[in-house]
Amino acid sequence: MSAAELTIGISDTASSSPGEEAELAGRLWHYMALMREAEDRIERKLYRQGKIVGGVYVGRGQEAIPVGTALHATAEDVLFPSHRDLAVFFIRGVPPGRVFAQYMGREGGLTRGRDGNMHMGDLKLNIVSIISAMAASVPVAAGAALALRYRQSNGIVFCYFGDGATSRGDWHEGLNFAAVQKLPVVFICNNNLYAYSTPLSKQMAVENVADRGAAYAMPAEIVDGNDVLAVHQAAGRAAAFARSGNGPYLLECKTFRMTGHSAHDAAEYVPKNLWEQWGKLDPIARLQSHMLERGWSSEAELDEARARVRREVDEAVAWAEASPFPDPATLLDDVYES
């Protein structure tokens, strides 16, 4: 599925009632808008103001993927967001202020200043922190799923990664183990056509990450990753499959990274036409048109919602800036259990 094959339209929702549809669309919109606003603030404002510590990786243009999937997660489910899946944190209930504090190296960040950017997690919310090495969380996610089954929980695991991560040995070992053990994991790939500067053609000989499912006898589905309703439906199928004890499921979401790899990357290696093509497929804009078309929302309501999101982000930034830097006296704490 190339950008050209994607339509600007959006999927119909499944057979739920119009009220439920509108409500769902509103929630999907909210988290996408919140992720966009928070990341814009980080990448385009705070970073340039020198308030961010270290690197910045955002999921601009890819918001439909974390949002469309994670809204299916129950409290028992365990999520392993990648560095492009900020919305997962908001959906799980992490206050945005803690995310900004994380990016600013403050005590209030999820890692209390020990780590930065998207390297964060919260065990109480069943979000596991990735480490930097791409795909390292894939076998860990399989292990979490093993534990859920062991404990006879109904929980399943959502494991996120990019196209590039699928080249790594850990990805293979993790998928293979999950498949052999029939573990309840939904593997969610955001295929944004690039791994840093490396285009898909230099990462893999297949066209789709989903083509790799065959190596594990794993059902693999491709979905338009910029159509949040389509992602939501596909994720529902995937989650239901995994939750019923059928084993893991591979969901490939075709998308595009509407930004550099990180805030310091101008991404000059990306052909101009890709920006244009994919710019038209912005997942938030597409959902908005659909909401207006269906009468689920009016322009005025959307404006108001946008203002609410901005206020939420303003307050969160203020909270983060008020959060102190960590005390150097704590440097030696928590290397081991004390």
Binding site: V78, L110, T111, R112, R114, D115, H119, M120, G121, D122, L123, V128, S129, I131, S132, A133, A136, S137, V138, P139, V140, A141, A142, G143, A144, A145, L146, A147, L148, Y150, R151, G169, D170, E173, G174, N176, F177, V180, Q181, D334, V335, Y336, E337
Partner: protein, 323 residues
Amino acid sequence: MPTTYLEAIREGLWEEMERDPNVFLIGEDIGVYGGAFKVTAGFLEKFGEKRVVDTPISESAIVGASIGAALMGLRAVAEMQFSDFISCAFDQIVNFAAKCRYRWNAPVPIVIRAPSGGGIHGGPFHSQNPEMWFVRTPGLKVVAPATAYDAKGLIKSAVRANDPVLFFEHKGLYRRIREDLPAGEYTVPLGKAKVARQGRDLSIITYGAMVWTAIEAAETLAREGIEVEVLDLRTLSPLDRDAVCGTARKTAKVLLLHEDTQTGGLAGELAATLTERVWEHLDGPIVRVTAPDTPIPFSPPLEEAFLPSAQKVVEKARWLHKY
């Protein structure tokens, strides 16, 4: 009937699995086959497939899955078939497991059991002593028992620890040593060294199979009137620096001994600790007896030349004693 080192580990694991339903085993060929060294023979029959998970050949997945399960409240005991294959799981150990608690307060209670050490003509890939890769990595604990008693007590403590523990079993000891173990349940705390032999003239600080080499050397030296104290570190990380300094203060002469190769071996860390902390108490240079800096060779005459021996220890100790 005295218990072998291997049996002691087996017993320790068995008791911990009986005690805590969250403890499970994971590794290659550990179920039906009972493990390459048969440490887990009978566990599948007793505890079932749920708690004894045979895996594909994928060390990184074994450790990764252990971490994931540990984050979700289980306690994984992973087996590396030989410690030499631990390098295939390296990133999971040193970057995922080691740093979770520090980074985001997430404890990772896993044990990675790994048969290590030479003397069995296993060659460069079945004889390594990989402990220092992990001793130098903050966030990991590293254990290397020398006796059956400690092997059992330490594996039990390792299973109960809330940090990732590398547990190096010396495969040369598996069936070579045995002793009577106490009837009841006991544990040996992590992080505590033990004086394996009392002495006043000279200290040998060592661990693992080399404890026996040190004792053998000490017995020879005793016949010459040199009374050697042997300190068995038992845990390499965290290191019992108090015990290390204690024996040095007592005898004033220290010989450091390990089967691992020399450069970057634990002896260096011990030497630095001693010169920093008990410099004034030392009556002679700190000396090392270790394997030389080569891969561990396969053929018996080469391997014999490679491994530290009681003879080499005796010679160096005599020299130091006279110093």
